[in-house]
Symmetry: C2
Subunit: 407 residues, 2 copies
């Protein structure tokens, strides 16, 4: 190659980073390592038997549709089911609000494509979902972080930031929030806080992107309405996915948005991948039609709820008193904090020696903060692995704290 | 909505157009219309029986892999098969050159993401694949068209354009070519012309994006090597897809590129959709392993070759002498030209009245030229529809020519 490619790549490539998590997952692929690093659903959560029935029927009755291109907006059977599903959950949507996506990561990509010019401001949570940060970054957004308190993104600090931007005549493109069982923190934004945030959004005329991949997986406590359902002005864009309630291997998600924004997202999707897999879409559509999805969600809630209880039990048993953790009411993740002067990327090395892995908290902070935190996934490990793994993690952390005392 | 969204969208949205073809397809969805407008494969080309066997086996033996996330680079079984497939076809590739994509439209999106800043120059053919133009446009490329002659993209004019850019110190990001059975023209670039274009690319240090979705579907004539296989400097990025040789409903394609570029594409893909559907990938991988793909390609070649012969027969029979057309040796499309002073968008209205549809040539020209051409797809219509449809098209064209004489 006699071309200096660095002179040829787009500016956005300079800012793109390999996903820390995907790279970590490779490191931690050794069989002896118990990994809490990924965000993988348990293979036991996949509805294999029901899926076999549905696939057989689709391949028998309608292969010519399932194997063909679909409309960019989505396969008709799935669209109908998603409208029912959305309305049942309290979100007032019609076909005009809905776009089927090739995973909710594509949802993040499309929203970024439609709104973010280089240097555009986007408000994110501290911490925030790493895939969201990656998408915004790949469109060269200038991210502004708002920390969480016990009720979710701080409304007070959000207002301060928006006020400050307003003084400079700047409007952020949107506020990015994962309100339910947040990745990585595991926390859920209270209803009051949602109302507050929405009011602030109205006041400063800023859109909200509500990313909610885990919402259906509540083990305990009361459901909180989506911000989308509270919004009567068309400010909120909601992203959903089948990855955690069905299977990631089909790569199907959805967007709700007001019709004008939704139409722009459709156009953006045309040049991105033309349409989502018709095969995945039609099968999920028929799967939902049969009522299999609700059953599968019930099964997963029971499975993950049990794992969450177990992991908390093992935390209490094995973790040193210097550690604290969130106690999620649903989802797949929780966040562990260690004393602020310590860095979990150093702990990571000890943990790998002890054959246990997690994701360093820094990955979830656009500004490189959060070094004393780490994300723990509890959906993928077996119950036995949860026990052994947290024991190893506790041991690693004790060693790490001890080593830092000596210095 | 009390926000003026037009002030909030990214600049790239202003330039994004709804795909003319997708919109046309909607217009032409009435059952009485025989449509040559789409680019759909024949439903009869789908390997339904073989696919049932493979799906059953995968769901029985390895559902936990097929339903889970895959690596961003691609599912291991599919990657192995694609390497064999690529090498058998004369392309010297290893895992380091390969990226599995969610359709070759995603390939176009990723290449654009990695190379195109707003205003960046990209060389395209006149005419060019509309999905390529759409992707480049969505990244705000400044496209420069090079017309085709009988051997493919004009080497002479390409050199002129590059020389001109060079004088202004400008380098286009890449030259975009569909060399095999081009969409829309149906023509194939000769081996000599490929060599010439590659030499010019080397001389001016410009990359080539070789988009080859139809390459395997040759009915007659001799295979011409890919430009990728002729390149020993890492200049060529090749895009391939299973949409036309297997089924579009799985949305799986691939990219070959030199390892450095391929790694940038992997990073870009992480924030675009994390990974392609594991289910689609694993099933295609096992399908290839069994040797079903070659058999299916043979079947399609026979089917489409027959349709191509028929459509040419009907053109000769029904089209007025003012029309001329390309005679493709493979693929799914041919291009019809009518006298230069006539506009096929006006013909389109008469055609729709006569219940037949095509795509206006203008859609394939980034500069709005090509108004006297139209693209005809011959893969989707049945043999009977080919007969009736071309008869209707001939009638429409005669009416159109007649009407324009009177004026």
């Amino acid at each position: 190659m006699d071309i200096n490619l660095n002179e040829r790549y787009s500016h956005r490539v300079q800012g793109m980073k390999k996903s820390v998590i995907r790279e970590l997952l490779k490191l931690t692929a050794k069989p002896e390592i118990i990994s809490f690093a990924g965000g993988l659903p348990s293979p036991k959560s996949f509805p294999v038997d029901e899926l076999k029935i549905v696939i057989d029927e689709v391949m028998e009755n309608e292969p010519e549709v399932a194997l063909q291109y679909s409309a960019t907006e989505g396969d008709q059977v799935l669209v109908e089911q998603l409208i029912k599903y959305g309305n049942k959950a309290g979100n007032d949507i019609t076909e005009e609000n809905l776009l089927v996506t090739t995973s909710s990561q594509q949802g993040l990509d499309l929203v970024s494509k439609v709104f973010i010019d280089p240097g555009a401001k986007v408000i994110v949570e501290l911490p925030s979902y790493v895939g969201g940060l990656g998408a915004f970054n790949s469109y060269q957004a200038d991210m502004i972080g708002v920390p969480q308190d016990a009720d979710g993104m701080s409304a007070e600090i959000l207002r301060e930031k928006l006020e400050e931007l307003d003084k400079h005549g700047e409007k952020p493109k949107f506020i990015y929030i994962v309100p339910d069982f947040q990745n990585p923190a595991g926390m859920t934004m209270t209803e009051e806080r949602r109302e507050e945030i929405l009011e602030i959004a109205y006041e400063y005329k800023v859109l909200i992107v509500e990313d909610s991949p885990y919402r259906e997986l509540r083990f305990e406590g009361e459901d909180v309405p989506t911000i989308y359902s509270m919004d009567d002005k068309g400010y909120v864009i909601l992203l959903g996915t089948f990855s955690k309630i069905f299977a990631p291997g089909f790569r199907i998600g959805w967007i709700y948005a007001n019709p004008e924004i939704r139409n722009k997202l459709v156009v953006a999707k045309q040049s991105t991948d033309l349409c989502s897999p018709a095969f995945s879409q039609r099968i999920i559509g028929r799967f939902m039609e049969k009522g299999y999805l609700e059953k599968n969600i019930e099964k997963i809630i029971e499975m993950y709820g049990k794992k969450k209880d177990l992991i908390i039990k093992y935390f209490n048993k094995y973790m040193p008193q210097e550690a604290s953790w969130t106690e999620p009411e649903g989802g797949l993740f929780l966040l562990v904090s260690i004393p602020e002067h310590l860095d979990t990327s150093e702990l990571f090395e000890i943990a790998i020696e002890n054959n246990v892995a997690f994701v360093i908290g820094e990955a979830f902070h656009h500004d490189g903060s959060g070094k004393h935190t780490m994300r723990i996934n509890f959906s993928y490990a077996t119950e036995e692995q949860l026990h052994k793994g947290i024991k190893r993690l506790g041991k690693s952390l004790k060693e790490f704290i001890q080593a830092n005392k000596k210095e």
